[in-house]
Symmetry: C2
Subunit: 331 residues, 2 copies
Amino acid sequence: MPANRQFLIDHLPKGKLGPDVFTLAEGPMPSPKDGEVLLRTRYISLDAANRAWMWGATYRAALSAGQVMAGGALAEVVESRDPGFAPGDFVFADTGWQDYAALPAKHLQKLGTATPITYLMSVYGIAGLTAYFGLLECGRPKAGETVVVSAAAGSVGMFVGQIAKIKGCRTVGIAGGADKCAFLTSKLGYDAAVDYKAGDTRRALRAACPDGIDVYFDNVGGDILEACLANMKNYGRIACCGAVSQYDAPAPHGPRGVPGLIVTKRLNLRGFVVMDFEDRYDTALADLKSWVESGKLKVYEDIIDGFENLPAALIGLLAGENIGKRMVKVV
Amino acid sequence: MPANRQFLIDHLPKGKLGPDVFTLAEGPMPSPKDGEVLLRTRYISLDAANRAWMWGATYRAALSAGQVMAGGALAEVVESRDPGFAPGDFVFADTGWQDYAALPAKHLQKLGTATPITYLMSVYGIAGLTAYFGLLECGRPKAGETVVVSAAAGSVGMFVGQIAKIKGCRTVGIAGGADKCAFLTSKLGYDAAVDYKAGDTRRALRAACPDGIDVYFDNVGGDILEACLANMKNYGRIACCGAVSQYDAPAPHGPRGVPGLIVTKRLNLRGFVVMDFEDRYDTALADLKSWVESGKLKVYEDIIDGFENLPAALIGLLAGENIGKRMVKVV
């Protein structure tokens, strides 16, 4: 019988996430009950939200010491005790950081196919769907408007800028470092890039968006949200997708301009979680597929090989190391 | 020829507003040009926004030293050089703090009548309309939901709570001091009141709203917004109307929970200025009138007699002195 490697949470971190938080262990091989399937994780998704879950209950229960580290994975059914699934089927599920998990079939949805298969976890997965609904439903951009995206080279931001471009908008990406900024304009088609590590973000945004920002897709919160608030146009929309700047070391306060600028500029801020749009995933996936197939939407993935690299992969993601959707290939 | 008393801005305040900011002067009697009307101010409106204008441009130009203090007034036409207006007509206009002002007729709208006439500046004026559109358009309350209002005994808050009640909501008002809180429940029909001067507002709100807040009508920003964010239900709405806690001494930062709680709770924050709804004032006024006439909507006014009392009236308003719509009777 194969081993079931697991990363357990040794303790919840108080400050910056370090490798000491995780312990590699060998767990029992799970055995599916009636109505369950046994899953083999193939690719484990790394997401800033993994870190946020350590702070307390969010849209899911908080993590706690002793449990297997939570995380979503592209997983293959290897044994099924449910008529809806057969070995070889692929699902996306919160298997946690382990080789095998037995989960109730009723919470799972069979995925289609894609080439490469990892697209099921990037452009056709949470990242692509988050970009799609956050931008189009919460941001509601109109052709000709200026759309700003933070963490613009990341798993979600990468798609936001490109979808905004497909919709006829002018796009400005915010990322850390000259390399990422070059990637934004040369590979992702952003009209301009702002390097938040290069100094005064507020001023750089003003230069990149001389007429102001119509839509800001916020992945980071904190100082960058503050800089965007200062540059928003009247009646601008902010899609609040995440606050990665706060996950590893929460700020004691929120950004200035809240709520003053929200009032005077008549801004609309809307927080969302992609699962809220579950009943419309099909429409979104059809759009995303047509854009990928026509070459309008490019997909970049940052695949790290080896289960043992999970902690470093998450720590590096929080430090802004990745370009594109980061995942660990398990097998 | 009568005198034209004016309060001039001596200098813009850096911190808390004091009486030294204003200088009483005697200005020239304005003479209306073609297309203008000469207005006699009857009641001058005191609003927290008066103070906000001193910080910089908002939805109107910033104020500056040397000019007549800006402010809205219920004013009577005493001379008209425009065919649309005749002596005796009433308008609401930014006359500033002075006895007389000559203004272009094309920017003015003739008001109907009301008994008492001051209702044109409270329930049928900016205050009532702000409550109406902010609550119904930005807050979108449904019957049975819990609506929380800050500055709940103030000019706008007074109406928000009552309109929410008319719409079948449970209403909780936040105000400073036991007297105001007693007023909220005994006179305005609030189901519960929270005294923010009595200690832990966050905890008091949790007790008053055990199931959480569906709609928060925010007049104040700052710590109270922070306490409400912590108590919002998933998918809650926040109508951002004002930030009076910040006008007299802006905080160096925004409230905690922005944007983290906006994301995880999928909140919608919408800032507004009542003029955005100008094309629908008639509908709103018809509703407000029917509620006032049927006794469902009570109107409280805080009328201070005497032009010379304008500075003290504004300073006191910022300190939370008033119950109901504050104005100064000029003549």
